[in-house]
Symmetry: C2
Subunit: 334 residues, 2 copies
């Protein structure tokens, strides 16, 4: 990261390492879970994706939100690991031939390319299931465990992440149909939202395309990110008012994160990002910079983070790291 010597960087690295170590022990062959009934191939497929690395943003949000409410980070570990298992399962399934059909993810072969499609489907299913086992069994007290299961299931399910994935796929299909129609009429092919594209400007932000984009992001990525924050709050024994505050914080940080992601694809340093730049534009994907322009997108993301951080002011010092992480979302360059 570019923020040399910053304590946030130190904190994030140590939290990521903590999460990685705990994820490892959850899926280790000789784990305390007594996984002797689990076929080694299945365990290896689950571990391949779960331990692949990544920013671990969702679990870190769980831990820091717990701490912000005065809870102990250790008590939030099961929920943190569970949300990463769910994020991981969604990536395995998203990469499948019938879905996005990707052979590589972050420079590594995708799960189904290594283990075969059947095993990848099952590894994803097993990770999704394990997430709930981990929370239900390892989170105390029971009322918090049950509330966390309900929260996470709602965020990940048919009105949340899965709904967003369906909306994204159907938006692409509509775009392809629209694209073929426009092509017949001599216009450029559009993929994604399926709305023809005059030059984006702040005077003409094309509300329906923007609304569609937000409707996809809100469910596909936003719900789970928000859930990370509320899970941490629940484990930290936040009262209903504080949970609502955390939820509003999470929604804003989640959307800002998505805008920042879109911006990095346009403006980012390919070497630091670890992937090619300009890929979204090449695919004709509807993104915030494409619809609002780079400047307006930056302003929107910054405003969201300002609002989010203001929501946490009453929490005081305990929420400092969580606030810093939110600020980092729009300052990162990879």
């Amino acid at each position: 990261m570019a923020m040399q010597g910053c304590t946030l960087e130190v904190d994030l690295v140590s939290l990521r390492e903590l999460v990685h170590a705990r994820l490892e022990s959850y899926v280790a062959a000789a784990s305390a879970l007594d996984a002797s009934d689990c076929p080694e191939t299945l365990r290896a497929a689950m571990a391949y994706s779960l331990l692949a690395g990544g920013k671990r943003m969702r679990p870190v949000l769980v831990l820091l939100a717990c701490e912000a409410c005065g809870g102990a980070i250790e008590s939030a570990i099961p929920a943190a690991c569970a949300i990463e298992m769910i994020h991981t399962y969604s990536l395995i399934h998203d990469d499948l031939p019938a879905m996005d059909d990707d052979d590589y993810r972050r420079g590594r072969l995708t799960n189904h390319k290594v283990f075969g499609e059947a095993m990848a489907i099952l590894a994803g299913d097993a990770l999704l299931t394990l997430a709930f086992e981990v929370i239900a069994r390892d989170t105390q007290p029971a009322a918090v465990a049950a509330a966390c299961c309900a929260d996470l299931a709602s965020a990940a399910g048919w009105c949340g992440m899965v709904a967003g994935q369906v909306a994204d796929i159907e938006g692409e299909q509509r775009g392809e149909v629209e694209g073929r129609r426009l092509k017949d009429e001599g216009e450029d092919r559009e993929v994604g939202i399926g709305v023809s594209a005059p030059q984006p400007s702040t005077l003409n932000p094309r509300p329906s395309a923007l609304a569609q984009l937000e409707a996809i992001h809100r469910r596909k990525t936003g719900r789970l990110l928000t859930s990370a924050v509320t899970l941490g709050g629940r484990v930290g024994q936040a009262d209903p008012d504080l949970l609502r505050r955390l939820e509003e914080f999470g929604k804003r940080v989640g959307l800002a994160f998505q805008i920042a992601d879109d911006l990095l694809d346009v403006t980012g340093d390919a070497a630091k990002l670890g992937k090619g730049v300009g890929k979204d534009a090449t695919l004709g994907k509807k993104t915030y910079p494409a619809l609002l322009g780079v400047e307006e997108s930056r302003r929107k993301a910054d405003a969201l983070i300002d609002e989010a951080c203001a929501l946490l002011e009453p929490l005081g010092e305990k929420s400092r790291k969580l606030v810093e992480l939110a600020r980092f979302v729009t300052k990162r360059d990879h």
Copy 2:
């Protein structure tokens, strides 16, 4: 069913209808769950499989186990619906092209043939996720909800149902490899367990093939069936001793059910079964009749049911229906 006028038949029909009605309301478009964020296509795909019908054996076991412990049937409805959602998701994924690649299930097109493969994968994911939301949100008290989530997740996951599916697939793959080797050596092709096949007899029950068969069934179907019984017990506030008793009951009933299933394929009336007879033998599948013979298989199943019912004797009258259901498992002809 052939047991005309029997009160068990009446009870089962009414319980099935109750379960079906409650499943319907869980996935209805205008359901109390406020499913407005769920794309209609996704909801339709989930409902297509969930409301397809079937014996509803797992949910009925949940309800009757709860009643056997002195609990109210209504209180066990969420857990009963959840286990059927999990059973349904597993069927959707099992039918996928990368898995068993079936176009039909019970005479109806499979989910992916109607909605496409992507939607089928996601509908399965959504049902699995919804199961945990339903239990966690709608089961009281929280301690029971959390315990049910842990129980169900363990039974359905990487050491349970998913593990069994992997073991089954890998057993088939080993059988195909072994079959090719045996074919080269001039013996009959074997599919499934991959062990060459002298005539089955009670004197030579081929323990390793039998052990492999049980290891698959125990996880692929047994864990979830057992969980149905323990879920009902948990909702019925069973103490740990009673839960252990119910678990032992469930294991035996589950295995007896699988043996009875194998027997029906050999001996059943195709018209009543609603599917062809002799399919297992055609596929060269390892089954109890194939390994032990029909008579020995029947004896084994009957013995398991006798043991199971004996375990429930201390529960008295409240467990009558559950005991009758267990007895019916080995008496059914379809």
